[in-house]
Amino acid sequence: MTFDGREIARKLTLWYLVASTAILAASGLLGWVIRMSQADVARLGDNTWYALMTAHGLGAFVGWAAFAVMGFSWWVLASLGFELRPFGAAMARLTFWLMVTGVAGVVVTTVFLGFAGSWVFLYPLPFYSAGQWGDVTTALFSFSVLLAGLAIVTWCVGILHTVVGPALHAVSRNPVNRFFTSIGFGYLWPKRFATNPTPVPYPLIPLGVIGIDMIIATLPLAGLLVFMIVQSFVDVSVDPLLAKNILWWFGHPVVYLLLFPAVAIYYLLIPQYAKRPLVAGNVIALAWVIAVIANVLVWAHHVYLDFPEGSVQSAVNVAMQPMTFALTIPSALSLYSLGFTIYRSEFHWNAASTALFLGLVSWLLAGLSGVVNATIAFDAVVHNSLWIVGHFHHMALLNIGLVIFGATYHFLPELTGRPLWSEAAARWHVWLTFFGATFMSALWIWQGLEGAPRRFSRLPDAYDDLAVAAVPVVIVLALGQLLYFANVFMTLRGPRPEARTTAEATA
């Protein structure tokens, strides 16, 4: 029996898509519930609210968004001719089961066992539960997150194994040289990282970059999680400031675990819809050289506040400002390149390409409310406010989310061999999501500017009005998602084209 890497990639991408879509439904429902509680529509107990927020955050960010783009990456690579080989396929399967088990563990420990230490579980909070959950629950939660973290590592190993595979036309056989070739160094140093006969396809570059960066980012967090499991049973502790830095050493790059595979999807699909090559594609190679280094050196902009006076943290934080500003260069160059690939092209508009285009628009808009936070003086004002919640929902739901929706509408027919159930439903879903989530995020940003605190199950009375105002918008947004679930479900269970043809012929 021969090994068919493309067929395995197709099946695995479908697995990831189905599982992540189910997680979106569950975590989206939790988000709806805690939002309704905050608006006093159906008030939850405080610990229940924080437990659901923990599950919602990890479920939506890692279990849906990251998991979905991780799955699409296998198909993007297969579409470029970089098919899975046996080791990569084993890593892809292992990733799937580790992630599913990890997310299930997070759901059990939060929803059923009451762990409510927030989705960033800032150490040592998980060990100060005020009697709401026990240390064994903390150990189980930490173990579940560890499984999801290991899923990220195995995914990275599988991606790196695939991007340096035989489809990479690197002249060198040295694996290190081949890796740097895969992340676009050949565009900058064509002699040292030579390719023959074809250059590196652009969608490969962000996948190689995130493949190496997430290993660097995740391993220290895995160590911290192992330590937390040990601390659940033994009287030991770790310096909280060190733990906080380790968390954000992972916590910032994990945003790119969502963004970079999404960018790979952009690089693959936007030129197809525009019917021309990526404009200035070779220039973006420069951006990715910056990205591969800067990604893992900006973590401390999440630690601008709340650190001991006189510690080295303040100096580290100051250094993070220019590094964070530098990260706008890869984003700006990618946006420029993708924007001008669309501009004055014969762009083919459908639900998938509309979602991708609106994802680009949202990338720009959400980037603006993000980059200002890099300035310490500004962050000091908005950091613990709903501004941040508005910013990251705008980025995750509209930049990343719309890429996932667009990729689903584009790839699902390829993956299933069946036509999309309804192009019209897909378009309604895309537009309702874009407007609904934009307004919803804008309300949070507005509340944040007024000083509304984040991570509060009950907002102070002064901020209640905009929480209530958001309710109808959230309902519209949620109803829009039902169109997506229906479309995915009906496409998956729909008749195969040949069956449909037979049925029509006999009718």
Binding site: T198, P271, Y273, S353, W431, D465, V468, V471, P472, V476
Partner: protein, 51 residues
């Protein structure tokens, strides 16, 4: 390798004039969401004045 492939049938490729459902998706979605926002703001203002 970096040339665009012409494989767009996967994402839907309606020919001729798009149906009314397709045309209405954007403006009606905007209208519905804007109305929802206005309704929410009105309720919030009402609650504010009532308290």
């Amino acid at each position: 390798v970096n040339e665009p492939e012409q494989q767009l049938e996967g994402g839907g490729s309606e020919k001729g004039l798009p149906s009314l459902w397709l045309v209405l998706a954007m403006p009606v979605s905007l209208a519905v969401t804007a109305l929802a926002l206005m309704l929410g703001l009105l309720v919030a203002i009402g609650l504010d004045e009532g308290s």
